[in-house]
């Protein structure tokens, strides 16, 4: 093997504003041509580690470094951030933040422009890099004309336009739909083979990254490296689960079935995991002995949309002939690609836009005459980022805002706000400022500020975006508890785990129309729907097929039910 291109030795780091170090005693080597995944729960230090690798630490974020970090053989603190960027190229999580050019070509040209590269070399390099990631036909497009996946490709091209030795990806899957995420992982793999660069991926969605081979997985928690080993070794142990990382679903299923998952079975991919006849029998037996969940009683119809058609003023037809219905007390996921019409549908529900044709009725009554504010008394809408909603300094005031604008007296408001704070687990923080809360707690505050209006339906846009498995579970368990109190919950999401584990039904949009409305197990095992809606087949289905379980769909459903009843006790 080559010499290490990045080498941490007894490395530690403490931000100036903090009283404790964020990284402790890091020992890590990354060699040219290697592909390393760094995972760990939120706050484990993985982003700080990434900042050390690309030079933002110590050059932009100030703090105290201990030990040594060498990049291409030289001590990083003696280099500058610009010198480090010649070796390490970073693709940030926020594709819109990284896309600083007005068009694709200009964005790719950004780094060489800063190096004063002139014509004709500049155009040649841009075209070459664009072709490498497959955006050669979009050079003149503005960012607004691109999908999330295409923007990420442009970010990558903007790095590849220079010859870097290390490609660093910060949560590359965070904002992508499942099929696009899969393509991103394939693209990273392909680029690595073409360029021979080292690849470092920071991500907590382990199963999705393992879609392609990874040499090593580094597991972090509380600022320390807990494991630095092959994916096979790591999957065979219990470290992942203990540290709040979701195992691949097929591994979890195998463990439920009593199969011993060992490294020599090569469990890092459902494609090549070695299962002997005895293992397969265990899986079939588990399926046979696990009872199906009892069917849920049919509830009355609550929300009905009929023949919705909507086109934006620029002529783009976002919805055509969309009809769907939701029953009381449902917990459903609305899925589909960007531009399939999900967010337009939400806007029509909330009254932000008005459909050109069709009707929406709630409990049998047409909603056409209701204003935005009146609809909000029935259907509450929670935006993706809490920062887009919070306008008050104190938690209490933020939750009370909607009641105050409705002209209620403080005496009427107080009991309702207090009750809501209790339901949302925010009671202990009732006199705190919002700024003292974590991201997940802020999300709760935004949900509370909607719940206080006592809607019958709550509509959430990507409720778990940007959160690790533990926080995500917390939010979802909370929504589940609300759902059990009778609230109908609709979630717009790209997250397959979320959908599979929590939603009872999936409402699938494609190209402005409804293409499916069925239990998630049915959706995620149907190739045609998966393809049209840019979803991804669940590895549970593949496992069922490999083990000779006849009814793969029932196997997936059984797994979901088992987790809900036996593991989470719900």
């Amino acid at each position: 093997m080559n010499d290490p291109i990045i080498q941490f030795h007894h490395f530690s780091f403490q931000y100036h504003a903090q009283s404790e170090p964020t990284l402790h005693d890091i020992e890590l080597e990354i060699r040219k041509g290697e592909k390393v995944l760094i995972c760990g729960p939120s706050g484990c230090g993985k982003s700080t580690l990434a900042h050390c690798i690309n030079g933002l630490i110590p050059f932009s974020y100030k703090g105290e470094c201990g030990g040594s970090l060498t990049i291409a053989g030289r001590e990083s603190r003696e280099l500058g951030i610009f010198e480090i960027s010649r070796t390490v190229g970073t693709v940030l999580q926020d594709a819109d933040g990284q896309f600083v050019g007005l068009t694709v070509a200009e964005d790719i040209a950004f780094a060489p422009e800063n190096d004063c590269v002139g014509e004709p070399e500049l155009h040649e390099r841009v075209e070459k890099a664009a072709a490498l990631v497959g955006v050669g036909d979009h050079l003149r497009h503005a960012p607004g004309e691109l999908s999330g996946g295409q923007k990420q490709r442009v970010s990558l091209a903007g790095i590849l336009v220079d010859d870097v030795d290390v490609l660093l990806f910060d949560e590359p899957l965070a904002n992508l739909d499942p099929a696009t995420g899969k393509q991103a992982i394939e693209l990273i793999d392909e680029i690595q083979r073409k360029t021979g660069a080292a690849v470092v991926i920071i991500e907590h969605r382990l199963e999705d990254v393992l879609h392609r081979h990874v040499d090593r997985v580094v597991l972090m928690n509380a600022g320390r490296i807990l494991a630095d080993t092959t994916p096979d070794e790591l999957l065979a142990g219990d470290l992942l689960k203990e540290n709040g990382i979701r195992e691949p679903l097929y591994i979890t299923a195998l463990k439920y079935a009593g199969v011993a998952v060992t490294a020599d079975k090569r469990p890092d991919s459902i494609g090549h995991i070695r299962l002997d006849e005895e293992d397969m029998k265990k899986v079939r037996d588990w399926f046979a002995r696990t009872p199906p969940a009892p069917p849920r009683p049919e509830r009355p119809m609550q929300l009905e949309a009929k023949g919705l058609r909507f086109a934006y003023s620029n002529g783009h037809e976002a919805l055509r002939e969309l009809s769907l219905s939701v029953r009381e007390g449902e917990l459903s996921a609305i899925v589909g690609t960007n531009g399939a019409g999900k967010s337009t549908f939400c806007k029509l529900l909330c009254g932000f836009e008005t459909q050109q044709e069709g009707t929406i009725s709630l409990s049998g009554a047409d909603m056409a005459a209701l204003s935005i504010k009146e609809r909000a008394d029935h259907i509450g809408y929670v935006m993706q980022s809490p920062n887009q909603m919070i306008s008050q300094t104190m938690i209490y005031d933020e939750v009370a805002l909607g009641l105050r604008t409705r002209g209620l007296s403080e005496d009427e408001i107080r009991p309702r706000v207090e009750e809501t704070l209790k339901i949302c687990g925010l009671w202990p923080f009732r006199s705190w400022p919002v700024s003292a809360l974590s991201f997940g707690q802020k999300k709760r505050v935004t949900i509370a500020s909607i719940l206080v209006l006592e809607p019958e339906i709550i509509l959430l846009d990507e409720p778990t975006a940007g959160q690790d498995y533990r926080h995500y579970t917390e939010i979802m368990e909370f929504l589940l508890a609300l759902n059990r109190r009778g609230l109908t919950v609709l979630m717009v999401t790209h997250d397959m785990h979320l959908m599979l584990e929590y939603a009872r039904r999936a409402i699938v949009f494609s190209d402005g129309a409804l293409i499916a409305d069925a239990p998630c197990a049915e959706i995620l095992t149907d190739e045609e729907i998966i393809r049209r809606a840019s979803l991804k087949e669940t590895s549970l289905y593949t496992l069922a097929q490999r083990c000779g379980v006849g009814d793969g769909q029932a196997f997936v459903q059984r797994f979901i039910d088992y987790e809900r009843q036996e593991v989470r006790g719900t």
């Binding site: 896309f99 600083v100 007005l102 040209a109 500049l122 607004g144 504010k373 887009q388």
Partner: protein
Amino acid sequence: MRNIFNYVERSSPIHRLTGATKLICLLLWSFAAMTSYDTRLLAALTILSVPLFAVSRIRYSDVSFMLGFTLVFMVLNNVLVFAFAPQHGVSIYGTCHVLADLGGRWLITKEQLFYHFNLVLKYLSTIPIVLLFVCTTQPSEFAASLNRIGVKYTVAYSVALALRYIPDIQREYHEISQAQQARGIEMSKKQRLSKRLRSASAILIPLILSSMDRIEIISNAMELRGFGKHKKRSWYMARPFRAADFLSMAFCALLLAAALLLNYLNGGRFWNPFI
């Protein structure tokens, strides 16, 4: 984006001029129109813009929307000038030819009408050229052009960033304002001004706070890609000057020279036909 600034993608000799040329011409032309109040020059500039539009293949329908704005603005401004200073023309031109007496200070004089005519010409001589610039210059080329005419590249890039993020921020503003409306925040005219401003800040606060996060992310991204490394930078959108560029700039420089010369000959900014 393109429809905010109304760039119209067509092929014409004016489209083919570099952005820097068009920017320099715009500046020279509007300085000429700004420094002079000579009726003959303003009229010449106005008439000259007609063939330029024809050459640029920009149609009336491309700019009618923006012209509408401008006409309203022009009429209102003229009404105001008359309301506040009906004798402004008299004081400028130094003579008084009364056409009608509306009572009180409301005399209608030839001088006042002539002043208004010049004021209208002032609009008509600058607005077409601005519209022409906006319609034929790609926003992308604008920043590179600024740098080319001597603006520091960091400032030029600030302009590029503003153009880049206007659509994103516009969308975010819209989304936040809708979600806040659902919670009962209103900015309608029914409410008192102070309440309206409080409502506005309930939308602005989330917008600003998320923009602050955006600033941090973008500056990290730019730093990681070497922005600010050298004293200059190159531009993908920059194009070399051709003969047509030099000719256009020379012509506009002549216009400015004419304006300055006329000011000198007239002994002031106004051309006075009354003496």
